[in-house]
Symmetry: C2
Subunit: 292 residues, 2 copies
Amino acid sequence: MDFKNQLENYRLRAEKALNIWMPQATELPHRLHKAMRYSLEAGGKRLRPILVLATFDLNPSHLDPEPAAAAIEALHTYTLIHDDLPCMDDSDLRRGKPTCHKQFDEATALLAGDGLLTEAFYLLARAYKHSPSVAVALIETLGDNAGSRKLIGGQQEDTLGEMQGNDEHRLNFIHQNKTAALLTACVKMGALLGDSSSHIEHADVLGYNLGMAFQIIDDILDATADTATLGKTAGLDEKNNTLTFPKLYGIEESRKRASHHTKSAIDSAKALGGERSTFLVELILSMEHRIN
Amino acid sequence: MDFKNQLENYRLRAEKALNIWMPQATELPHRLHKAMRYSLEAGGKRLRPILVLATFDLNPSHLDPEPAAAAIEALHTYTLIHDDLPCMDDSDLRRGKPTCHKQFDEATALLAGDGLLTEAFYLLARAYKHSPSVAVALIETLGDNAGSRKLIGGQQEDTLGEMQGNDEHRLNFIHQNKTAALLTACVKMGALLGDSSSHIEHADVLGYNLGMAFQIIDDILDATADTATLGKTAGLDEKNNTLTFPKLYGIEESRKRASHHTKSAIDSAKALGGERSTFLVELILSMEHRIN
């Protein structure tokens, strides 16, 4: 199967897993569950669940990685809903559709985010309770990376900037935590579910480098692409005076760093999966060379 | 030890557990962790962690129930922070002190709530990973009761009322989910940590009845006590046109129902703990006869 077909195959499995494992819109209270489903079904590349599935496939086991893929996407979706709220980024649109609080209301969006966050952990416990050591390792990994010291802390610093005055330190803190932490959780959870757990340190290094490359490219695209290509408003970082890699190091040096992190991520993918790493290596390369 | 001393003893253990297990205010980002600590340390009766510890003591095991007690209080505190936000109850004061978003800001309060919710699950995984079956059962119990179908669903219905027109059904839905679900999680987690797990169905019945009695008394106090005795503004339910037990059934019938649920809760406590249930029975009785 070529890369594009395999990617689409993984994406469909991620969507199917969400549909199976998340609460139905018909459950009470309807408005709350409709809001959760609305944001889950708003599209997106499903990069995070695909990373869980693809990392699992480096050394597959008898376990089913799909519930973990759904849990990670639920958690990612909660961060988007809460980040879009008026007290955070105050965004009206996401992927061309009204944000959750615009489509429903602020209270429902707040609670829908809380519901998806809770559901992520609940699902991991439910789905993997017959392999309790794996379940606990997955939950600890997600709790660590999505907690107040990492993902939420990165969001706090990005929004409220208490480290201002030390730009390099601050930029690294934000990107490591806001972006790389959850991508690290994805590859680590995929590795924990598979037979890669004896090489789990490669998953940490892979996640970190993948996350840093991803965020640097994000910054470069915001500064260089046009809105039509990007599919979202370009130039927002400049407008909002956001600290970015291009601002701190220039475009050329930023590209070099993205390329360096990409190479390191590929090395870790190969260390984890050997010959089975072809798809993951192509995915990592495609993330560096994406145009939106 | 008499009841009051034992209650104080449990309360101090709950506070100590929070202090040990929750992130320190000195961790980065400081403002986020200060906000989490501010709300955790704002006082309160610590009823939920005390229930975990007291239910554990009905049939103690070699496990330490204190991390679970801290996790439950972290989860409870997140619900208070998010419920106080402007898009929910828009409260300026809680227990006589500024609410989290008033003391800090809305973005910090939102993220502090997210952080405490995540920390609850992370702590259960970290603290009990060497007893992975217990850890997963605790996390599944908390995820179930604190999820969008129960705790968050009760909050959604209380705030947005999609079931209006069927008052009896609606009132039961709100109180079972908004209040009783988390109290059920407390006693069930205490029982799972102890040697009560073969009688876990008693914990479910205990939690349900305790929760219903607790909420009915809450409704009665709001309608009958004065603000000075209550320590918070009395009469808010009437003012906000909130659906309550006294409104639907009258004060006398509400008291009867609270008494009935209290008796059932005591029966379950005795079925779980036999002679060791003295403290828990007194605690349940004190909840029925409380004046604030």
